[in-house]
Symmetry: D3
Subunit: 140 residues, 6 copies
């Protein structure tokens, strides 16, 4: 049986900043530049979730995309969309809100529920702006 | 001589919320939904500025796009990019940060300096998400 | 007060064909080419609806985009999305399913309900493929 | 010698539905939702074909992209473009027209002719809508 | 009868530079910056041609898009695609190759043949990069 | 620690042609078609550079994207943007300017400086037109 990869695109709009509480504003600005603005800024993040598996002989689907989309909504988007990543998101507590950390945290949110769908989580891709994106494949 | 329209695209990432200080959180949520999240959210805004004029016989340009881009940077982007629209932006003071108000305010910021370039400001277009955008043509 | 234009983007996927029942297959092929395939073909149509008005002093909105989106869903998308334009769509009965006719028909579907929102319908834009789109501004 | 991957993008517009002949309309709707509409719906599919090989010392090409494009046209697009995937396409006979099955079938159509060009087929990617795409790398 | 606008997108890749033969390299660089590179640079230009008219009662088309596309190919693309705008293009002789001049020249190339199709030429839009585009509506 | 991939998108506009000095114009046209136009043509190239590494515990970044962007500017864009690839670019001397060769040459330009940033170069992707792109992963 072929193993096919299927990707769902989702979007969320959120506020954040990059700054360490144990650094001065000057130190934060030196490292994080305008991303350290104390009053926050924000982005339209785009999220792609890729899973793989064998197409079902009954439905010809690797997985029902509506089910995958609902799962992403419940475990990721409901926590992030129209939120402040640094203040409002339980699964980002204690982590700086870099796109790198966000991709890894989204992977951790999705790994178990995707497995429960009977497919393998392959890639979490997060685009912060049209010029920057991050991918996490579960590598350590 | 032909009158040609020329458009420059720029981008800014900013935080904001939609909520009235004189309303309760429940009233704000009823009208503004998740856009009223007290801890802010944010967007990658895309801005298109259209000006028109006759191409110069000397340079064949309606206007030097580098000059137009610098002017947009000075009068608009330096105030909005990586900022909180509700807290950090002098020209948005006293206005709710709807995309409508943002487009009108950007028009007001650009009208005089664009005129000083010798061309006419025709349209300010602001995209908030891939599904929503606003255009202001200076109509009243 | 400024008059601002606001645009909502929506999408629908539909089947159709271009062929006249009173023509032979050869005549249809001569005029409509591969678009006349008897077993249908289909598109991901993209729809932009532009309305204009003065931003409300209470909400700063020209119109609540969620309300506009629901109205487009009720009057347009629920009839067209995942349908056969030639067989399933009451408001396209008796009209060939060219993008031109589709744009005019969508305008007619939206004109009254948009007016009831208190704003003016300005443009219906329908994209059939990345290389072709149609705009209708209500001109006759 | 370096091994380089080169990708050609192509497009086709087609009708299809997801429904099993041995299920009732209710069963089909329960599993496939609005994709089971009996009168079909359709999409603008986007197809990316990736092949790899060493750039020729004579031409500096991995493969002549015009030749690759003609090959995709002959073996894939001429069968799918402006067609009904469920009724008109020999290589989809006996397979449900999920994007998963489509990607695998396109791989099978291209594998031998791509090999005859002297390069390796690496990925067939099929996008059904802007939010969903499938990739097949030949894995079993 | 409704008057509908229909737009065809086309693309061409061309080389050019911005420099006046009667200026020194230093003068050219001062005005045109890196666009004055003596050995040329180039772009993937995108062209949108908008025409308007009443949909035919026979075909439901404002105009046959294949005919419009062939006309654009004959009068514009065959002269510009994979060419040097400053050296190879008869209709650009004696004009600097700014995007402004290009849009006006393309309008002039298309005005008569579009009229011969029985429709009105409304807009020629030329995009030079993702951040810059020009529109000409025939205004003088 | 997780290993995360991060990608920076950049753009450059350049002229080039595909033709061998030791072939006749007819031979060049037979192999390279309109890409062999003696007076050059050009493209808006898009470049994606992907690097991977562990996010820093201090900054949460795999690498500072501003530093990566400056490095790409210094080693790649300053040599290619608004240039003639065949005449102006030292690191393309002696190589035909196919997108394949360009991707490999950009890899070679970036490999050492990316390593000096403490991360691994994973992919150089170069898009020549919306329908064609090349990826090099350092495979030999």
């Amino acid at each position: 049986m072929p193993i096919v990869h299927i990707t769902r695109r989702e979007r969320f709009s959120a506020a954040h900043k990059l700054s360490r509480a144990d650094w001065t504003p000057e130190q934060n600005y030196a490292t994080f530049g305008k991303c350290s603005n104390p009053n926050w800024h924000g982005h339209n993040y785009v999220l792609w979730v890729t899973v793989s598996g064998e197409p079902s002989t009954e439905t010809s689907f690797v997985t029902d995309l509506s089910a995958l989309s609902r799962l992403i909504k419940e475990h990721v988007l409901d926590h992030l969309d129209h939120k402040n990543i640094d203040l409002d998101v339980p699964f980002m507590k204690g982590r700086y809100s870099s796109t790198e950390n966000l991709a890894v945290a989204i992977w951790e949110q999705l790994e178990a529920p995707v497995k429960a769908l009977g497919v393998s989580l392959r890639t979490v891709k997060v685009e912060e702006t049209e010029n920057n994106y991050v991918e996490y494949h579960g590598e350590r």
